[in-house]
Amino acid sequence: MAHAHAVKRYSGLMDWLTTVDHKKIGILYLIAGGFFFLVGGLEAILIRIQLWAPQNDFVGADTYNELITMHGTTMIFLAAMPLLFAFMNAVVPLQIGARDVAFPFVNSLGFWTFFFGGLLLNVSWIVGDVPDAGWTAYAPLAGTTYSNDHGMDYYVLGLQIAGIGTLIGGINFLVTIINMRAPGMTFMRMPLFTWTAFITSALILFAFPALTVGLAALMFDRLFSANFFDPTAGGNAVLWEHIFWIFGHPEVYILILPAFGIISEVISTFSRKRLFGYSSMVFATILIGFLGFMVWAHHMFTTGLGPVANALFSIATMLIAVPTGIKIFNWLFTMWGGSIKFTSANLYAVGFVPTFVMGGVTGVMLASAPADFQYHDTYFVVAHFHYVIVGGLVLGIFAGLHYWWPKMFGRVLNETLGKITFWTFFIGFHLTFFIQHFLGLLGMPRRIWQYLDGIGFNEMNMISTVGALLMGVGTILFLMNVVVTMAKPKNASADPWEDGRTLEWTIPSPPPEYNFAQTPLVRGYDAYWKEKMEGHKGMTPAEPIGPIHMPSPSILPFFMGVGLFVAGFGFMYAPDWGHIGALKTGHFIGIIGLATTLLCMVLRSMIDDHGFHIEEDEILKDLGGKA
């Protein structure tokens, strides 16, 4: 047997750089995603300060374009998705009773490629060539004719690298959920957060390759003078819109579905009731995922696809309201008659429901193609997508943070501070964006850096800015909560809410490296709750205590990320950096970067990872210590 393999177990910084433990990777995602959330939030505040008075010149027009582009890109790709991946990593394996994800090494690789991609994108601020063609990077504006500095190169390469990380992360979770479920954990017994993580991963798998192609084509256009999107050379700008939105619309559901999952868990736990209509929830999730691929052209009604296409996509879009409505009613019926506890987590969840409904209603309004001609490119659209993304996703993330914080860190966040945070953020949010519906209906276009005095925009913009500052205060309060909590002793119990229904609450907070000392036997939906109701203290184990095999830590994923980061730089600056012999210096550096990544892949393939075992006495000691 392989017990004799001595595997180096690192500590300190090296531990975090080499970890393949899904719980630690979850924390890494949380830190990195949280950092980018702060960056994107700062950009948002700057945008709102610029707009708070007519003809303000707080930032220049160029800087404003950079701010809106980076705000959108950062929030979607570098803040929202990684924060969701943080929860998926921290929670999904625990909810299905698994010791780890299917591919721990790939999991770590996914994080590091995302991280270095995001870093590359944000280095643009330091260099001074910042992406400025909007987060949708429409051609020909994003082409070299109109964006001649390196700004859009950062966008193309940074997102490409981060996208690779997301894609392999998605595959990892699909396989984990399909293959690694504990005995008895059938698909229809999976907690809803796991279900939404599953469908989201599937959407990632099928949507991101389209983005890969789009970005590659745009990169070829920009770096190697290809003609995909250049109308003067036979290219087609509308093609970019199509490719971007074939990816981009599923992306919206990639973001919102896990939030639906979090809300379902939180509402069910704190209503102390089984989730109403569980199977219809699952069905609705799958249906939303599927329909999400069939509606991309509703972003392009005014492009001029013609009445037939517009009608088809209108109807398809409105169809999505049906499964979404099912979900809303299920949450309401879950709360109905429950003994509701308004913890901070539940406040966010309860606040989510009406807020998201408002985003959904404006969504149906926008889905009507003739009406969309009026709303298009106004603040009405801005209000709509912030209602679904901030009012939906971000509230969901905050709910999840308060709910699972004890499981991730062993400490319960301060409830009083949490409730103050909620009200500050929630009121700030509605103050910022509710008014923007009316700004849009009055005709204020989006993506403009100034507006004239005396056309009735002044007060509403002022209100909106005050709201944004309030959201900023809310975020700072949350950070204070984190600091205060981290100073407290690590004393959260396994089931700190006392109403935990799912498997993650059956193990210590934070869980040991191997998660489950004994794989649990799942006997129904809400596995832990079922045992509680039948008077059992914990789960029935499905196996005796024995040595547990663990994968070894590895530094290779980190270097693979570094390699791609370096390669991105090299190819981007090839036109500027002169030659070494016949080869451009930039290309030389790029090839070195890619070679580093490939070499790491070869090393990974050639050197077998035997892992190591955690012995029985260590597990027994853990059990004794915690009991």
Partner: protein, 105 residues
């Protein structure tokens, strides 16, 4: 684990190792379909739409043969593989429809 005993069942069921025959048949079938496709185009006399139909027909038939026999998709335990590939194909269809009808007009 559900997939665990599935694999165990397979192991006990047919220990006989399959021969190369059916793969050679699949290969000949593939070559034949390829030949039909090339011949149709080279002959060039037939109606254009009809050629397109034949070309797509032979291509899909060939892919079906290869996936079923060479990639073992027809075997048990490939549910998620089939779902994965089919869903990918659905999206490809929508993308191709987009390319044909909604890019130039």
């Amino acid at each position: 684990m559900a997939s665990n005993h599935g694999a165990a069942e397979q192991r006990t069921k047919h220990h006989k190792v399959e021969g190369p025959k059916k793969h050679v048949v699949a290969f000949i079938f593939s070559i034949l379909l390829t030949f039909i496709a090339f011949a149709t185009v080279i002959s060039g006399e037939i109606n254009k739409d009809f050629i397109y139909v034949i070309l797509m027909g032979t291509a899909f038939l060939q892919v079906f043969v290869q996936m079923a026999f060479w990639m073992h998709m027809k075997d048990r335990g490939h549910t998620f593989a089939i779902i994965g590939i089919l869903f990918g194909v659905v999206i490809v269809f929508t993308a191709v429809i987009m390319a044909e009808y909604w890019v130039w007009w």
